[in-house]
């Protein structure tokens, strides 16, 4: 169980150096992060993108990249495929999505999974740190499947369970979110939740437990209680990760800190990973600064 991203960074220092395939590397914040990750000893980059721009930025930030492979490529589709292939061929351990548009990377990952005969659902997960929670929590699917059916949802859970087991959980607990809110148990998300529970129990191949209830009130309060005051909220009960019904909720929830960083979500940290393709992939946001990207890389080294 990971308590914080601080812990992720500490663990990465002991995980051994990993080769990182960087998709469209020509961004100052990305190269600054890679410079630091290299000096900390957990990553050695393979830089794919506009070589001229990459070398210029590297010079400017005094990052000696002479010993690293630089692959000059400007077509985003080819950048993504090349980067993913490096991992599937064993020449790199993980992919870092840098400046490239996410859709190119997703397509390359899906293509690679297909080529290698992996019949897995691809999904995205967010890992979220709230300073008052006892652990990092996950959220999925945050960016790939628009409106997954219950069978796809099971595969999305499978991916996230694998991730959490990799990060040290023995049997992750899943919270399946639904807008049923005690008014409509026939909402598709609620009916899916029942089917998922049955299927996972019957199948036995996914090593997880499923939390009772369908919303945060259910997960964090005593059974059937209403919230009297914030003091009674028991954050130790929070599931390890949440499954959302659709991509709208996944995307809004994972970036919820944007609503108010000053008043509400101070200390919030978020990192994203791509799951199911057999290619350990961390998804840095293009708006991220280098210190956030260092943690992305650290996280990648732990899952590769």
């Amino acid at each position: 169980m990971l308590k914080s991203f601080e812990e992720v960074e500490q663990k990465a220092r002991h995980a051994g150096k990993k080769r990182v395939s960087v998709l469209q590397a020509e961004g100052q914040e990305f190269l600054m992060a890679l410079k630091e990750a290299y000096s900390r000893g957990y990553a050695e980059p393979i830089l794919i993108g506009d070589e001229h721009a990459i070398r210029n930025i590297a010079d400017r930030i005094e990052f000696d990249i002479s010993s690293f492979q630089v692959i000059n490529e400007n077509d985003p589709k080819k950048i993504a495929e090349r980067g993913v292939d490096l991992v599937s061929a064993g020449d790199a351990h993980m992919v870092l999505r840098a400046r490239i548009d996410g859709s190119f990377m997703y397509r390359a990952a899906i293509k690679s999974a297909r080529d290698t005969g992996m019949k897995r659902q691809i999904s995205a997960a967010g890992l979220l740190e709230f300073p008052f929670l006892p652990k990092i929590i996950g959220l999925t699917d945050t960016g790939i499947n628009v409106a997954p059916g219950y069978e796809e949802k099971i595969e999305i859970i499978r991916n996230a369970v694998e991730l959490f087991c990799h990060l040290g959980h023995e049997k992750p607990k899943v919270g399946i979110l639904s807008g049923a809110r005690g008014l409509n148990e026939r909402l598709r998300s609620a009916e899916d939740a029942i089917k998922i529970r049955e299927a996972i129990l019957k199948d036995g191949s996914i090593n997880c437990s499923i939390a009772e209830g369908s919303c945060l009130s259910d997960f964090l309060l005593e059974k059937d209680n209403s919230l009297e005051s914030m003091e009674e909220v028991d954050y130790d009960r929070i599931p390890d990760f949440f499954l959302v019904h659709n991509i709208e909720l996944g995307n809004i929830f994972v970036k919820i800190d944007n609503i108010s960083k000053i008043d509400l979500f101070t200390g919030f940290r978020r990192h994203g990973v791509l799951l199911g393709a057999g290619i350990p992939t961390v998804i840095a946001a293009r708006s991220d600064t280098h210190d956030t990207i260092i943690t992305d890389i650290a996280l990648g080294t732990l899952i590769s």
Binding site: F130, F132, G143, V146, L177, S178, G179, R181, G182, L183, N184, L187, S189, C215, L216, S217, L220, L221, N225, S226, L227, E228, S229, M230, V233, V244, H245, N246, I247, E248, L249, G250, N251, I252, F253, K255, I256, N258, I259, S260, I262, D263, L264, F265, R286, S287
Partner: protein, 297 residues
């Protein structure tokens, strides 16, 4: 009004109203009613077998003065009696109290003798941002499940009736979804685009923009990085959520993970109706009564 305290202060200026409550039982509900009564917002009209109401009040150490009691024979007729009281104009507002939410909503929206039409209703959750000195509104966080465009217009119009009461002039509205460009495979993006166009043509007394993801809605810099410019970016008053999955869950996330002070109001009915939602702390129920009071004539 920019703070929850402003809502309470403004409610104190309103004429006191009769709030009918069918069958109140829990400490939470009695506490909320009693706080609202002490603030001078309401005269509680409790509908129950008389013994039970009085006993409950006494056991919580609440003085009976200023309460009205309507005695019924059979506890299960409490809501029907409460609705009769409203029809007879002997009360101005109704509180769900401890009744089951589904039973309460189904009954008040019955064709025969009901007091609302379900498809006109929507719920707004309000959150206070003290440093930014503002309140933000999220809707629909409880009622409509998968609203079509027509219902979204109604949800928006309802929310605008509230910003009007709160004195927020020409509010900024973000029609939120997961991306900032129209994708015809995702209806929430096309609905958002239509609302934005309607706004541009002056069809709302608000500035509505969409589709927006939460990055673009919250920050002009992030919007610019994604190549768009939005008139509401960084100054959103109302977040219009695409469906109940995100509406309900995001309201809970704001409460439990943002730990934001919250309030809520049901809109779209003639008679103010106060709900009792699980994720709203007891303190919020008093605010909800104050908000309901502000929308009485």
């Amino acid at each position: 009004m920019r703070k929850f305290n402003d809502i309470l202060e403004n409610a104190k200026q309103c004429e006191k109203k009769n709030l009918v409550v069918p069958q109140p039982r829990s400490k939470r509900v009695f506490t909320a009613i009693n706080e609202a009564k002490k603030a001078g917002f309401i005269t509680p009209v409790l509908v129950d077998t008389e013994d039970i109401s009085r006993e409950n009040l006494s056991s919580l150490g609440i003085d009976h003065t200023g309460y009205e009691f309507v005695e019924i024979e059979n506890p299960s007729s409490a809501l029907a009696e409460a609705m009769q009281i409203l029809h007879r104009n002997e009360a101005d507002m109704i509180f769900q109290g401890d009744l089951n939410g589904k039973y309460f909503l189904d009954t008040i929206a019955e064709n025969d003798g009901g007091i609302v039409q379900m498809n006109a209703l929507s719920y707004v959750s309000l959150f206070e941002l003290p440093t930014e000195n503002k309140m933000i509104l999220l809707t629909d966080t409880f009622i409509q499940e998968f609203p079509d465009l027509k219902q979204k217009i109604r949800i928006l119009t309802n929310a605008l009736s509230l910003t009007d009461i709160l004195g927020i002039e020409k509010p900024n509205v973000a029609a939120l979804t997961m991306l900032e460009r129209v994708n015809i495979a995702v209806p929430s993006t096309t609905d958002a685009a239509v609302l934005a166009k309607m706004s541009e043509r002056g069809q709302f007394n608000a500035t509505v923009d969409g589709p927006l993801d939460i990055d673009c809605a919250s920050s002009p810099e992030k919007a610019q990085r994604k190549g768009i410019k939005s008139p509401v970016s960084g100054k959103v008053d109302i977040y219009l959520l695409p469906d109940i999955e995100s509406g309900y869950c995001i309201a809970e996330v704001m409460t439990y993970l943002g730990r934001a002070p919250s309030a809520g109001i049901l809109l779209g009915s003639d008679i103010p109706i106060i709900l009792n939602l699980k994720f709203e702390p007891t303190e919020s129920l008093v605010l909800n009564i104050a908000l309901a009071l502000l929308r009485t004539p």
